[in-house]
Symmetry: C2
């Protein structure tokens, strides 16, 4: 029997792109924005309107996605899950073509135990054929045919109707149990 | 009802990467290789073994996939199909990370009527959730859950057990009829 397959998003699911947004914003505008200021929404909606264009350009910089921090326990948990499941990393990179190389390098660096043949750069994630999708963006889960897990983030804290997960240890525990129960 | 979805490969399905291989090979080694010389196999197997390493490096050059010729009737046929189907372009780019930008630019140039959110750069195409996959590489069709169409190419001419298509006009005719019959 084919192993079940988990598709895992990158930004704000395994890597901290929000803090990069905030650092670049604060640096550019000598501001003191915090993650908490973005609760329930996206950074674009909590900054002065005249700053939005600059901030929307930031992720188009080839280095924006470089050297992002990995979320706590993501590497160890995914390593354990990779023994029982097929793991794919699936990121909506097509909106930021200049990010391809940095995203590829980041995955190779932090997840050397996952083949690069299991990396997917796409836009519309409804194209993904997997049993689970772990993602912080509700719209990606909406179009997904399998079981979606919403990775908790400041911007999605008010989204309802999703199976929410808060950490990689919680995901590890849940998916190990799911896997035991189908044996 | 959701439109049926066609996933379309790039190299040797809509663009002529074989002729690029041959041009670069002939230029590098002052040779006179032709497409016909590669019948039934890949270029790597019909050249002297001491040339293989250089030829394997060619697709890693950032310009290798730039300005490739589009296959006859591909643009017009896919434009017509896009009215009845969702079209995704799906290319195994992960083996050639330096090709990302050229492949993205090529699709944007020749298929401006398909959203870049429908471009997928991956490795293992069994991750693709679509009704049809049109591809010249048998192994990609083997792992695909939907209906696979093998796009005829010199290298795959001896592959058996696949639904083979020879041109974009043939694909257009076949898929238009399939779509009529399910209405």
């Amino acid at each position: 029997m084919r192993k079940k397959r988990i598709a895992i998003d990158m930004d704000e699911t395994i890597c901290d792109s929000l803090i990069r947004h905030i650092e670049w914003y604060n640096h550019t505008f000598s501001a003191a924005l915090t993650k908490e200021d973005t609760a329930g929404t996206r950074i674009y909606h909590v900054i002065p309107v005249e700053h939005v264009e600059v901030v929307r350009a930031h992720p188009h910089h080839p280095d924006f996605f470089r050297d992002l921090d990995v979320f706590d326990d993501a590497i160890d948990s995914i390593k354990i899950l990779s023994e029982q499941y097929e793991i794919f990393f699936v990121t909506a990179a097509m909106e930021y073509p200049s990010s391809f190389q940095a995203k590829h390098d980041w995955l190779k660096k932090h997840f050397p135990f996952i083949s690069e043949l299991n990396f997917v750069f796409c836009g519309d994630k409804s194209i993904i054929n997997a049993d689970y999708l772990i993602d912080d963006t509700p719209k990606h889960l909406d179009g997904f045919d399998g079981e979606g897990l919403l990775f908790h983030a400041f911007h999605n804290m008010n989204a309802e109707g999703y199976q929410r997960v808060h950490s990689w240890t919680e995901i590890l525990e849940k998916l190990r149990i799911d896997n035991e129960s189908i044996r």
